[in-house]
Symmetry: C2
Subunit: 511 residues, 2 copies
């Protein structure tokens, strides 16, 4: 990587083994520009796209991040644009042949003394917000619940200034679904764990229609009757709304008394995600987040990275980092589950990349994977969670939380797994935000953060556009995490209230 260079380079190369480099300038690099002593571009290279650093023969390995991202489909002369149509996708690594725990990273030195102000819960978790959550058993109740929530927002919340908000957990599940299908465990687990999120302070309020397939006793057997509102037991619309508002008022009174207290950074549970990625994501934002992830792990925190279809093609770089056989095998099992799921739907692994990724210079899922994995930093992988599985209080360190890569579905799954803050990198730019936990948005390019001043929280683009190092930006992210988790600083999405809906992952049929 070309860090610390005072004269801005036209291209960056990530790893010494790489035989391609990435065009840095926002408007691309003109034909005839000098790359290095004996290489000139022989055609225009768009920003964040790749230039050939050698003469490729058809079939030659194309190497980025020190790993093979594909093979030359034809001869590609030095200085050419290595565009999508000139690259053949390599085979996915065979799961059966993956080495487990063969390159377990050494523990990084502990990082002591970092704290944040959080809401400590009785189950040992620590919240970063103080919210009233209202979980629904079924989509049917959404219309009435939304009216009640509006009333709570307007009439009750002003009385309780210590409460950050009220959130109905609306979703598309609960009835008209194959509730006993083998894969129905996934959406039910996600929904249950969302209801138990640390930012709801251990309070539970459940809204049920009364005839749904996912009744309260199946969703949350631990909830007492006094916290369940069943519409079919109420004498009409207005009593339904009144009941919700009245129960909300009781809970808000308790929530309003809660106070933030000093907690060690090890009480943080941070999710990492990327969306609208470009070829810079793997050069600037993801490596900087990876550095921040290492800092969090050193401070004893829990860090989750996710997105199965984005790590699938780099899985041979992850299984060697598994702490033990069991963790390695669970990693492989989650990959195999997704392979099968996609196969049932009649699609291959290239279903992941988007038109935006490709415009952004990512030729295929392998290149996208390698960039995406950079977010995970360099720690040992200590645990693996299935989609929406809740992290246990003693599961610290770097965790792979298996989820779809879809931004809004991954966000929902990570919330269910218990993240209390998310760091989200973007290259093309997205307005994505979560209500249940703050999202720090990190841009891979400086021009994006300049254009979207009121959406991007940290510019990692300065790693190529200025003289910032990955380590500096990584530390900046780490410190912002502590500030945001403490409620001292608001991320843009919380400032404006830009929130995506809860999107459950349901791999089972609807009926």
């Amino acid at each position: 990587m070309c860090n610390n260079k005072k004269d801005r380079p036209l291209f960056v190369k990530i790893n010494n083994l790489d035989n391609v480099a990435i065009a840095v300038k926002p408007k691309g690099v003109e034909k005839g520009s000098t790359i290095s002593e004996n290489i000139k571009t022989i055609e225009f290279i768009p920003q964040s796209h790749k230039v050939a650093l050698k003469d490729f023969k058809s079939g030659d390995e194309i190497i980025r991040y020190g790993a093979v991202i594909g093979y030359a489909k034809e001869d590609i002369p030095k200085g050419s644009w290595v565009s999508e149509d000139r690259v053949i996708l390599p085979k996915a690594p065979a799961l059966s042949e993956l080495p487990i725990g063969t390159r377990v990273p050494k523990s990084l030195p502990p990082l002591d003394g970092y704290t944040f102000l959080g809401y400590r819960n009785s189950d040992g978790t620590v919240g970063t917000k103080n919210m009233l959550g209202i979980v629904t058993c079924v989509q049917c109740v959404e219309g009435v619940l939304n009216i009640a929530v509006e009333k709570i927002r307007n009439e009750l919340l002003p009385k309780y200034p210590n409460v950050d908000g009220v959130m109905p957990i609306n979703h598309n599940y609960g009835c008209g679904v194959a509730i006993d299908a083998p894969e129905a465990v996934v959406p039910i687990r996600i929904l249950k764990n969302l209801a138990l999120h640390p930012n709801f302070g251990g309070e539970l309020l459940v809204v049920s229609l009364g005839c749904e397939k996912l009744p309260p006793e199946r969703l949350l057997p631990e909830v007492g009757e006094e916290n369940i509102i069943v519409f079919q037991d109420e004498p009409g619309f207005k009593p339904m709304v009144d009941r919700i508002v009245q129960k909300a008022d009781e809970i808000l009174k308790r929530l309003n008394k809660r106070k933030r207290e000093v907690c060690p950074a090890s009480d943080l549970v941070v999710g990492l995600q990327c969306g609208g990625s470009d070829a810079f994501s793997g050069v600037t934002a993801n490596p900087a987040v990876g550095y921040a992830a290492d800092l969090l792990v050193r401070a004893g925190a829990t860090v989750m990275f996710s997105e199965v279809t984005e790590v699938r093609d780099g899985i041979h770089l992850l299984t060697p980092r598994a702490i033990n056989e069991q963790v390695g095998e669970k990693l492989k099992k989650e990959m195999a589950w997704y392979d099968h799921y996609l196969e049932l739907g009649g699609v291959g692994r290239d279903a992941n990349t988007t038109p935006g990724n490709k415009k952004g210079g990512l030729v295929n899922i392998v290149e996208k994977s390698l960039g995406s994995i950079a977010k995970s930093g360099s720690s040992v992988i200590s645990h693996v969670l299935s989609p929406g599985e809740k992290v246990k209080p003693d599961q610290k360190g770097l965790i792979f939380a298996a989820t779809p890569a879809s931004d809004f579905v991954c966000g929902t799954c990570q919330l269910a797994s218990g993240i209390t803050l998310q760091v989200f990198t973007t290259g093309r730019g997205t307005t994505y935000g979560l209500e249940m936990a703050p999202v720090i948005k990190v841009s891979s390019r400086t021009d994006l953060s300049e254009k979207w001043k009121d959406l991007i929280d940290i510019d990692a683009g300065k790693i190529v556009s200025s003289d910032a190092t990955i380590e500096e930006v990584g530390m900046e992210i780490f410190k912002l995490i502590l500030e945001v988790a403490s409620g001292k600083k608001k991320v843009w999405t919380d400032y404006y209230g830009i929130y995506n809906a809860i999107c459950l992952f349901n791999p089972a049929p609807v009926t």
Copy 2:
């Protein structure tokens, strides 16, 4: 059926062939009550559950609606409760053996002179509301769009009193999905047809992130650039909101000038659905709606019934009503598609019934199906639509629109198919409502309509609780349809604004 009886019966029997009858009294029927001359109940029968009218031997056919709903699992003495655990599910009718068009009903006499006041569109469709619809290409944009919509509601709508509302078409689709999977045609078709709904007056406003898999040119190639807002082209959050509000203002000005005009009832497109069904649904509400459906067909209108998993077990009663071979074959094709879809998910056809159905006395999907089909009335089936396929202006009469049975998914699919009003029957009670088109809620039991005075629009329960006939209630529904479609009367869900979210049917994988 026991209509016109001044002395309320304890039980009702639908068809002369039936060997079971349904308990009518809200609190059930006590042991020892007289059913008929030589039959007494020998145990308590809960309301809407079945009593044996003969001595069943193990394996005997149990007949309701004149059709086999199951087989006795054990000997069931006359006067017993025919409960779920005493009934064996019959095999699903084999699709290959179904007769097509063998019992095509004769045309009913035309019904002239009925009209409503609608918004006529240039494509020949007629709206029942005058709304601004804003379609999104991808979930990612929802957070910003919702903020803009709130602004439109508060600042613009008061200036345009002829406009009924503004509706963002938010959904879970557009990215992080296998957009080229064979079944991706389904959600894309639904979304496209929602955008083109008759109640949006032919106006289109599209919001895109810019890097999604479902870009505007793929979703709606017919839309001009001037009606597409791409967030990644905008310099930040506030300009995004401003652009949406400004475009909305332009469209609202035009919509506000529209006037309702007298249209023949044949311009109506009415969807039929049931949810939270009980054993009364098939006795009161569904047959009354079936009568209304016949009136609509006689008036030349378009009527859709749906819910594949609810008609699957009564399909042998539907294919004979198909107008021709082609329609019959498409009916079978839609059933076969769903059989395969459920099989892939590892579930059988009994995945449909809900705990509420069972509490409501429906022992299995066959009994539920037969009751559900009653909504379709007695007309010939003139067309079949795939999920979310848009009805053509010349497709009149009774149509089977294939959809999941899930209330909120079926509602979304029927809207995409072009319904401008829905009639929804319920036994257990649901607060379900659609924003895009009015929903008339019909209760199967009088006690429900008395309990939910501010949610149920018509009580069909009076067919057993009072001396109303199916025909009278059917005519009452028909007339209410015309009034509601004219904007003269508001259904309860529109009065309070109780609306369920758009829930796309996506049988393809997410990535």
